[in-house]
Symmetry: C2
Subunit: 168 residues, 2 copies
DNA sequence: CGTGTTTGATATAGTGGATAACAATTATCG
DNA sequence: CGATAATTGTTATCCACTATATCAAACACG
């Protein structure tokens, strides 16, 4: 038997033999691949990752982009209203807004009706950046998803996720 | 005009008038409801939330549960292997394991082949807890998802998310 | 042997999310 | 009106999760 005759290093007997067998015995996911929550999170991370890549030229995170979108669709709202609809707590929304305002993408204006609250508005630069971001998202990010799932698949997926997000 | 004759408080003119109109003009989500990443994250949060509720009697987080599942399906693996397949960085996996080991759900055993690495094994208590956790997940958590989406819908959703997680 | 690599571990920093508390302002109601 | 309560933005602080650099011990390999 040549095996016992040839002195085999530990590396040989483990890594190389395993590679010969099947690339170091892949760890079995088992029932994990059927756990919806697990796959859901993995998919979410991938999608956010791709979003960041696609919109990198404009230096916008998903959260920042969603704020700009909301301000555009709801001009004149205050911080509490915007933060609440995004599921962001007011204290945590402050620094997020600071960042956007310091980049001159939006402004806080004291309300005349209620001098406690800040009316939020997109600046011209904010509108311009948002418009460019939308184009990147549609042409690169969502386009890639359409390519992977097909338009029908994408719509089906969106509908199911919306149902979970709203009714679960 | 009775409006000008009756002194209306600011609260009247804002909150009540709005309620009369339509419950304080809800903030418009706008294009946000079509952003897959946004809905994906919201759904993921809801699912994790429900997972925690369903498995609360056993005090297991999704991450802890996934580790137990992997150890059960892959007895004898080391920390690096388990952490890698879960997408957890080795440094961060240490405290996670500390927590499980301190609860006597799993053990680290020095490998005889390679005395650097720790072989991970479920304890009897770990197997028992995992078995009970599985029952809760199936009977409560996944059951609720099936109720919401239907078995077909759930499978379709899982397939799409898997595709994104693996191929995106 | 000596050099380089791997494993588990520690320290540390960054980020996101959550609560308590505060000043300023507004609402409520006796 | 005036006292009390509620709301808004803000700060401070804490916890969980993530990411990087570094280390000693053990191992691989020439």
């Amino acid at each position: 038997m040549s095996d016992s005759a040839r002195p085999v290093s530990k590396r040989d007997s483990r890594k190389e033999a395993a590679v010969a067998a099947e690339e170091t015995q892949a760890v079995q996911l088992g029932e994990l691949s059927d756990l919806l929550g697990y796959v859901l999170k993995r998919a979410q991370l991938k999608v956010f990752e791709d979003f960041l890549r696609c919109v990198a030229p404009l230096q916008l995170t998903p959260a920042q982009f969603s704020v700009l979108l909301l301000l555009d669709a709801n001009p004149g709202r205050n911080q509490t209203e915007i933060a609440n609809t995004l599921g962001i707590l007011r204290p945590n929304f402050v620094s997020l807004l600071d960042s956007l305002e310091s980049r001159d993408l939006c402004t806080r204006v004291r309300s005349a009706n209620d001098r406690r609250s800040h009316i939020l508005l997109l600046t011209e630069k904010g509108k311009s950046v948002l418009a460019r971001a939308k184009k990147l998202v549609v042409s690169k990010h969502e386009a890639r998803l359409n390519e992977l799932l097909g338009p029908d698949g994408r719509d089906t997926l969106l509908a199911m996720l919306t149902k979970i997000a709203e009714e679960f």
